[in-house]
């Protein structure tokens, strides 16, 4: 009772820390019942938790005792399975060393306990209140689509891709994939001349093509199915129902020399993932027509093109503000 009173008096400070490939971004939202929320964010040229980052966060969390630190789980051991039942879980692997979270008694996402402890240890200086899974971010962000449609939902970050196949709220398949590059490789590319970049791109495409040829061959069967469908209707569907996505698509057309390679890698990862979904008998296989991409980094149009042309998906891209989304989840959990 007294706690509720104090909560109404004090404003709440939400801090979301997003780690990217070469920098960290701290999102801060100060919300109170009387005033509109104030948002701040600052980038730090370090992926580790530094003292400057801590000082910046401390300057905000000192304002209110009700401050919450949100972190996204980057553990590679995380994933999602289409069941909450402990009996059925064994079919998907050994989860004895994992922390399971059941989502609406329908499907579950998990991560390693050691990963959680590592995050807690990393942020021991300021403490952590929420550690969110990419799957909870994805399901929350596309809640309006997941509830009604069958599709492939992808959260694209710089180093990771989170893939989930949902059929009207029910998860059919889920994977969290690392698609990061070595920083040294990136630096070498940045230092090289334009011609050299072109050469690198070509060589990288060739290599990737060679790697994925077998996978593409394996998708021949659903290529036939694609032919049976009316592609025009899909396009019409996309235009009529998802105008908001089309507007957002214009924002991600900025391409760098390395984004082409990265986007192709992301495409390959998604392709492999879809292949696993179709081939693995553990998962209830359903034909995917639509892909919804939550873009956290501003992917190039290439990814959309690859998905549309190579896999015949209807692709919709929606930009996601990871920090804001984490803060929204934290707020939802506190309610």
């Amino acid at each position: 009772m007294l706690g509720k009173l104090f909560e109404s008096i004090y404003s709440k400070v939400f801090v979301a820390i997003v780690i990217e490939r070469s920098k960290s971004v701290v999102y801060i939202q100060i919300s109170s019942k009387k005033h509109t929320p104030k948002n701040y964010h600052k980038s730090f040229e370090d992926t580790e938790f530094t003292t400057t980052m801590r000082e910046y966060i401390d300057s905000f969390i000192g304002e209110s005792p009700f401050s919450y630190i949100c972190v996204l789980d980057y553990s590679e051991e995380q994933g999602a399975i289409p069941t909450c039942s402990t009996k059925d879980m064994s079919a998907f692997g050994d989860f004895s060393a994992s922390k399971m979270m059941c989502h609406e008694n329908d499907w579950a996402y998990y991560t390693s306990v050691s990963g959680i402890e590592t995050i807690k240890k990393t942020y021991a200086g300021i403490g952590v209140d929420f550690i969110f899974s990419s799957f909870s971010i994805l399901s929350s962000f596309f809640k309006d689509k997941i509830e009604t449609q069958l599709g492939l939902f992808v959260l694209v970050e710089e180093n990771y891709i989170t893939v989930g196949v949902f059929d009207k709220m029910k998860l059919l398949f889920g994977e969290h994939l690392y698609v990061g590059h070595d920083n040294n490789q990136d630096e070498m590319m940045m230092d090289s001349s334009d011609s050299e970049i072109d050469l690198d791109l070509e060589s990288s495409i060739d290599l990737d093509d060679i790697d994925t040829m077998s996978d593409i061959d394996g998708l021949d069967d659903f290529g036939d199915i694609e032919d049976l469908d009316a592609i025009d209707e899909i396009d019409e569907f996309s235009q009529s129902q998802d105008d908001d996505f089309l507007d957002e698509e214009d924002d991600f057309l900025v391409q760098g020399p390395s984004s082409f390679n990265e986007d192709y890698q992301r495409f390959t990862a998604i392709q492999n993932s879809v292949n696993r979904f179709y081939k693995d008998s553990k998962y209830q296989s359903k034909f995917i027509e639509t892909v919804y991409i939550a873009d956290a980094i501003g992917v190039s149009a290439d990814l959309k093109t690859y998905l549309e042309e190579e896999m015949f998906f209807s692709v919709f891209v929606r930009h996601i503000d990871l920090g804001g989304e984490m803060i929204d989840l934290a707020k939802a959990e506190l309610k």
Binding site: P65, K120, D129, I131, A332, E333, L334
Partner: protein, 187 residues
């Protein structure tokens, strides 16, 4: 709904420093209250003791008064016993003196001591022996002396001698006698 792998830490308006200060003041206040209640209890006990002592004092005073009255009574008894003892001694001496007064030729058969008199019954060979040897000393002691005779079977005379001391005359003779008498009356 739960989204996070961990629960948020409990938030408290009171910081660790404030908690320390509050706990310090709380302990101080508790100690003060305990001291206050201890002193209050002690004061109550002290007042109770005072009341008890007062009550005991009253009881003791009553007891002392009772004992004083008993002492007075005992002292009076002692005085009385002493007086009786003295009187007995005097009486004993008087009887001894009386028997000393009686000559060998006269035999007393009964002697009655009165408060202010003496009645003697006895046998005398004749009146002269009685008059000269017994009546004369009796007259010197008593103010009034009456004698009566009657013959016995063996020819001797039985006599009854009644002797009185007049108090009025005695007071005239000795003022101290009055004082002694008053004391006797009080007893």
């Amino acid at each position: 709904m739960k989204y996070s792998y961990i629960k948020p830490r409990k938030k408290s308006v009171i910081s660790a420093e404030l908690k320390l200060i509050f706990s310090f003041f709380s302990i101080t206040l508790i100690m003060l209250f305990l001291t206050y209640f201890f002193l209050f209890f002690k004061d109550y006990r002290f007042t109770q003791n005072i009341e008890d002592i007062k009550q005991k004092m009253i009881e003791l005073e009553a007891s002392v008064q009772k004992m004083n009255s008993q002492i007075t009574f005992i002292e009076k008894e002692v005085q009385l016993s002493e007086r009786i003892s003295t009187k007995n001694t005097v009486l004993k001496d008087s009887i001894a003196n009386l028997f000393d007064l009686v000559p060998q030729r006269i035999t007393l058969s009964q002697a009655t001591l009165l408060k202010n008199g003496l009645i003697l019954h006895g046998i005398t060979p004749n009146k002269d022996v009685y008059n000269f040897m017994l009546q004369a000393p009796l007259r010197s002691i008593f103010h009034r002396t009456y004698s009566s005779f009657y013959e016995s079977q063996n020819g001797w005379l039985k006599f009854v001698s009644t002797n009185y001391i007049d108090e009025e005359e005695l007071s005239l003779e000795s003022p101290r006698y009055e004082e002694e008498k008053e004391v006797d009356d009080e007893d």
